[in-house]
């Protein structure tokens, strides 16, 4: 790393120190990064390891509904599923959280009451983030007041791409403050819009320096969301950040992860890049809604030896 823990405190002293730091991070060779992610994708996970991985993945899912048409009824159904994902098999673990828009936090909170399931809310004018900071902060405060345990914020990609890193930094700091002590903050970069791996590494460090509890790939609302390569890159960033500051930050790939096979590939990335310290739902999450049903069907298959079918898992 280009600096030491001692000087990290001064990194955000000004726009220019911040830029110098972020641009001094080691570069990313795209071909090499993708090759490494692909090679880890060839790990063959069988039998007991697969059963373990499927349960682990289920426990890491942020079960999400982010539609304009969301109703309290829909959120209640989602909450029930998060608590007991498989009605036919109560040994299936609960998911990590349900993730909803801020106005649905109260309903979600009620739906998961008494369980381990957290309520996450996408505040800060999700998914575009194109609103004044005051609006974003109000959004966050409302969600936290309604009981949200976690806030998923989007960064201002426009400011980031324009090189105005300090603006992005200040916004994250402000949102983190609005989260108070009760809510953990996930910072969404929308990696598909950042477009280069160098940018993704810089965004990761920027987010962590500003106090993110989690860094998250994407909103799930654009063409390119989580990929093995960008997730591997973010895992390397949290690993290096902890080595330098002692602070552990979580990672959440979101969008586009639909099958158990894919999810297991991500778990292999975690296992072989940052290891056991990140292999639980306090430090790693999947932002995915259709993934859960495939995990449940695979779980049933392991238990019974047969594939069931979409009618043997619930639609929401």
């Amino acid at each position: 790393m280009p600096t030491t823990a001692h000087t990290l405190t001064d990194v955000a002293a000004s726009d220019s120190t911040l830029r110098r730091f972020l641009h001094g991070l080691p570069g990313v060779d795209a071909v090499g990064l993708e090759a490494r992610a692909a090679s880890l994708g060839t790990r063959s996970i069988k039998t007991t390891a697969k059963a373990y991985a499927i349960d682990l993945a289920i426990s890491m899912v942020d079960l999400t509904t982010l539609e304009g048409a969301d109703t309290p009824g829909k959120v209640r159904a989602l909450g029930a599923k998060a608590v007991h994902p498989d009605p036919t098999d109560r040994t299936a673990p609960a998911t990590a959280a349900v993730c909803v828009y801020p106005d649905m936090v109260a309903a979600a909170k009620q739906a998961v009451a008494g369980s381990t399931v957290k309520v996450a809310s996408v505040a800060t004018a999700f998914p575009a983030g194109r609103a004044p900071l005051s609006v974003k902060l109000a959004d966050v405060r409302e969600a936290v007041a309604a009981g949200a345990d976690e806030i998923d914020m989007v960064i201002d990609r426009g400011a980031f791409l324009a090189g105005r890193y300090m603006k992005v930094y200040d916004e994250i700091v402000a949102v983190k403050e609005a989260c108070g002590t009760s809510a953990r903050l996930k910072v969404i970069f929308e990696t598909g819009e950042l477009s280069t791996y160098d940018n993704i590494r810089r965004a990761s460090w920027l987010g962590m320096l500003a106090g993110a509890d989690f860094i998250k790939t994407s909103t799930g609302k654009v063409a390119v969301n989580a990929t093995p390569a960008n997730t591997l890159l973010m895992l390397e960033a949290v690993r290096d950040f902890r080595a330098q500051t002692g602070v552990q930050v979580g990672v959440k790939p979101a969008g586009g992860i639909r099958t158990s096979k894919d999810a297991i590939k991500f778990l292999v990335l975690v296992n072989e890049t940052v290891g056991a310290d990140w292999l639980d739902n306090h430090w790693f999450r999947f932002g995915a809604s259709s993934l859960l049903n495939d995990l449940l069907m695979q779980r049933q298959k392991l238990a019974t030896g047969r594939y069931s079918g979409p009618d043997y898992v619930t639609v929401d």
Partner: protein, 476 residues
């Protein structure tokens, strides 16, 4: 609880290894003239896989005669006709690739993920590539209608048995030569399966002859008066002997010998990818690679950080059963090779270099050597000069690009080198100064049939692969 991968072994059932094999001469499997046989074992378990006929001088003579006879017809075929056979061989290799991958892993000890994902695709690609050249030799830049040389005597090593066979046989056949090939004594099986593929492809008798055997058989191939071209891949010591034997004859010679490749990491390198490249450079095929990046030259300012990252990465390497799809590091090819690696590593320690290996359990049977790093190494250490041909990396440092180049070139060898930097101009500037046949930038150990491969100095001469690879088999 941690994420432990359950065993994921590839099935052995796909490959049917016969209890014994003959020599492949003139399209038939035959016994050795003196009836000698030897055993080939799996380096991972020491299990005897098969008993193989051992070629002697008389067998070599028989094979060369068969190849000479076949040469007349084979060389007279239109290039497009020869191409048909080569394309057919390439397709059969693809169809049988899983079988061949398992076989190669059993006989050689390298992990199935390497035979499956690297060796076999490259083997097929070489035959496809040279099949494409067979009818275009007039346009290859060697003048109008260049002629084949005749009988090619080829001796190949045990580290990439089938791939080295492909590198040798594909260009030889494409250019109209016939072949007598001696595979290494520890890894004869895939060459014998290839003999079967030649029959399956309907290749005319005598065009390809395979003679498993020891060094004496190789020497007989090299010194046979009716061999027109000698191609050898192996150790520098044997290469020198061959050069002496061939000197003064009219035989054409190419040698692919040892190496002590420098992998140069500048302070602006993409660190995470450089670590992967270093790992791939020296631990691919347990480091038993002539172009391995066995000398890491790291800029002093990032030495500590890079070493830390490298050690962390080595701790995740998975060593064990080569047939397990999750194995990264397999077995050393033979007890003899293991002894050589062990002796050189011990010498490194005795000379004062600092030795480090990740905590890893070695299987109780078979030939194994843990991935090993040497730090505090200088140019004067044996581990920085001698080719170890095993999973042993020597780490040296430099301060300026000039020093990096000087150290990289300060070796009797010159086969490969690597440069890691985000600065494009530096890649070009440094690559131009390195005396190595292949220079990789921001990657390592990448092979492609279209790109020539070969060495400087004691790493040999001549090029294999690409258009340049044709020249070695043509009268130009």
């Amino acid at each position: 609880m941690t994420f432990e991968y359950a065993p994921a072994p590839e099935s052995r059932a796909i490959v049917d290894i016969a209890p014994s094999y003959g020599l492949f001469i003139d399209g038939e499997f035959v016994e050795a003239a003196d009836g000698k046989v030897f055993k080939t074992v799996s380096p991972a378990t020491e299990e005897v896989l098969s008993e193989v006929a051992q070629a002697g001088e008389a067998d070599v003579d028989r094979a060369v005669r068969a190849a000479r006879k076949a040469f007349e017809k084979w060389s007279a075929l239109p290039g497009a006709e020869r191409a048909k056979y080569l394309f057919r061989i390439a397709r059969i290799i693809q169809e049988r690739s899983r079988e061949l991958a398992v076989l190669e892993t059993l006989d050689n000890g390298k992990p199935i993920r390497e035979t499956r994902d690297a060796d076999l695709p490259l083997v097929a690609a070489h035959f496809f590539y040279y099949a494409g050249w067979a009818d275009k030799l007039d346009h290859a830049g060697f003048g109008p209608s260049p002629k084949p040389l005749g009988v090619a005597g080829q001796v190949i090593p045990w580290n990439f048995p089938l791939l080295m066979l492909a590198w040798k046989i594909a260009p030889a056949l494409a250019t109209g030569n016939t072949v007598v090939l001696k595979p290494a004594e520890t890894t004869p099986l895939s060459a014998l399966f290839f003999a079967d593929i030649c029959r399956q492809a309907g290749l005319p008798k005598g065009v390809v002859n395979i003679l498993p055997g020891y060094g004496d058989a190789g020497a007989a191939v090299v010194s046979h008066p009716d061999v027109n071209k000698v191609a050898f891949t192996g150790s520098t010591a044997v290469g020198k002997q061959i050069a002496r034997t061939v000197a003064g004859t009219r035989k054409k010679l190419t040698l692919e010998l040892g190496g002590k490749g420098a992998n140069i990491v500048f302070d602006d390198a993409p660190i995470d990818q450089a670590v992967e490249g270093i790992v791939n450079g020296i631990f691919f095929n347990q480091g038993q690679v002539c172009c391995a990046g066995s000398r890491l030259l790291v800029q002093e300012s990032i030495e500590e950080e890079l070493l830390q990252a490298l050690k962390r990465r080595l701790s995740t390497l998975r060593l064990g059963d080569p047939l397990d799809k999750n194995t990264d590091i397999g077995a050393i090819n033979s007890a003899e090779q293991l002894a050589r690696i062990t002796a050189l590593a011990d010498q490194g320690e005795a000379e004062g270099a600092e030795r480090w290996s990740p905590a890893c359990e070695l299987p109780s049977s078979g030939y194994w050597f843990a991935p090993t790093l040497f730090t505090n190494v200088t140019q004067a250490h044996t581990v920085a000069r001698d080719e170890i041909f095993g999973p042993v990396l020597s780490v040296l440092t430099f301060r300026t690009p000039d020093e990096a180049v000087a150290k990289a070139n300060n070796t009797p060898y010159g086969l490969s080198a690597g440069i890691w930097t985000e600065k494009g101009s530096r890649i070009l500037a440094v690559a131009g100064k390195l005396r190595a046949g292949v220079v990789w930038s921001n990657t390592f150990n990448k092979f492609d049939p279209t790109s020539p491969f070969g060495g400087y100095k004691e790493s040999g001469f001549g090029r294999e692969g690409g258009r340049h690879g044709l020249e070695a088999y043509l009268d130009v």
